[in-house]
Amino acid sequence: MNEFVFFLNKGLTSGLIIGSIYALGAIGVTLIFGILRFAHFAHGDMMTLGAFVTLILTAVLAAMGIVLPLPLAFVAMFPAMIITAVLAIGLDRVFYKPLRQAGAKPVILVMASVGVTLMLQGLIRLFAGVRSRNMFVEAPKEIFQIPFPGASRKLVITEPQVLLILFTIIAVIALHWFLTRSRLGKAMRAVSDNPDLAKITGINTNHVVWATWIIGGSLACAAGTLLSMDVTLKPDLSFNILLPIFAATIVGGIGQPYGAIAGGFLVGFCESLAVFNWAILLRPFKDDLWFEIPRNMALVPTEYKLMVPFLILIIVLIYRPTGIFKGRVL
């Protein structure tokens, strides 16, 4: 039973956690692709940027001596989401919009976004250095230990993890509501579906573009913040996360927000199950087995975790290039 609880902690919870992060990032990438027709490679650094904005606001709140029942970083995240959304619109104004208006090909916008990535990374290192930081300025993070019936080992989940899961659920419901009920949300789907007809119909493309960056930017900020709260905030946060997010986007079907959510969790679970040491689950049965259980039976060593989204990506591109939800083909 203890082994099973260990599996829940290391395999399932961690899949759920990292899957939520990927889903929040992939929603932005897929919406930007659907509306603006390019792969936004700077999305990972938008997450780092958002997390740093949160860190600054958190430090300000802590300096003011504010004490709240929730972690300060979580509270500071909401204004930081607004700031990041504004910054995202600003980046679009300065870098992407002029190219769009000049009728640039998508690949040029992709290259521009690589440039924005490098720029953001440089700026963040310039002002924040390279060391990792703790988002818990005021107090250490709270850890909940939940007793599991029939086991001495306890289910472990931290407060930021609970907040992350709750936030993701609410964000997904809000997004669904926005896309299917609101006038602007439907217009976003219309532009993604058929941009020429959307213009003919008189849909204001500028509003739709703003909405895209607001959603993409604010969710990137939330994902970056919540990931940093779960581990630590590092300037190279985006490095390890960009590939899985693009894998999630493509697996889910490019341009499909629900696909991005499904893809995010799929990639997250595959990753955490691939690095899980399955030997631990077999140990209780060691007397009945005809073979010696090796010490480590993980499918992929932890250091090679990044291989998993890469493999998923290759398999999907070969066997189902449109993804689970029938998105566009790159």
Binding site: D193, L197, I200, G202, T205
Partner: protein
Amino acid sequence: MSLLDITDLEAGYGQMSILKGVNMSLEAGEIGVIVGPNGAGKSTTLKAIFGMLNITGGAIRFDGNDITGMRSEKLAEHRIAFVPQENNVFASLSVHENLEMGAYVRRDDFSDVLDHVYEIFPPLKEKRDQPAGELSGGQRQMVAFGRALMIEPKLILLDEPTAGLSPMFMSQIFDRVIAINKTGVTVAMVEQNAKQALAIAHKGFVLAGGQNSYTDSGQNLLNNPEVARSFLGG
């Protein structure tokens, strides 16, 4: 003064010039039909009116305003609607959402127009929650047509609304065009079924090679032996 006035319109795709002087004028309440061989520039003319290509010469006036090269988004506010020949519905949106999008520029209550569209196209009401991409060709044309009606247009541009439809569906669509025109909407329509279309037209325009080759009333064009021989198949 005419509602729509096109004089010596020259336009093309990028550097390629396609229209080499198209003239067309429609009074309010008329049906104008554009016919001509494939590649004559019929669709291009409608796209040029709707601000979708490079206009290199000539002028388009609507209701006293110069709308030459005006952006598509703006034309909906002038109550001009366009149903393109292809990809004319939002395939992944439901029928109802397609109609709602048609009314995007309206900030007033449009529920009566919505009811009216469902009334003239009963199959749409039945399929209102289905994605438009899953409908039959004829039903999709109805969605496209209905979507365009949502702004209560003064002028509606239709590009081959009967393309690929069975004769029964075709006459249904023509009946709708007449009915909508009776409510005061001016119609400019490109049609491959030239004889039937010219029969309901107040004015007809025969285009060839990006220019008018005949311009007359619909009836006169039908009776013109030369037009009949070269464009209407005898």
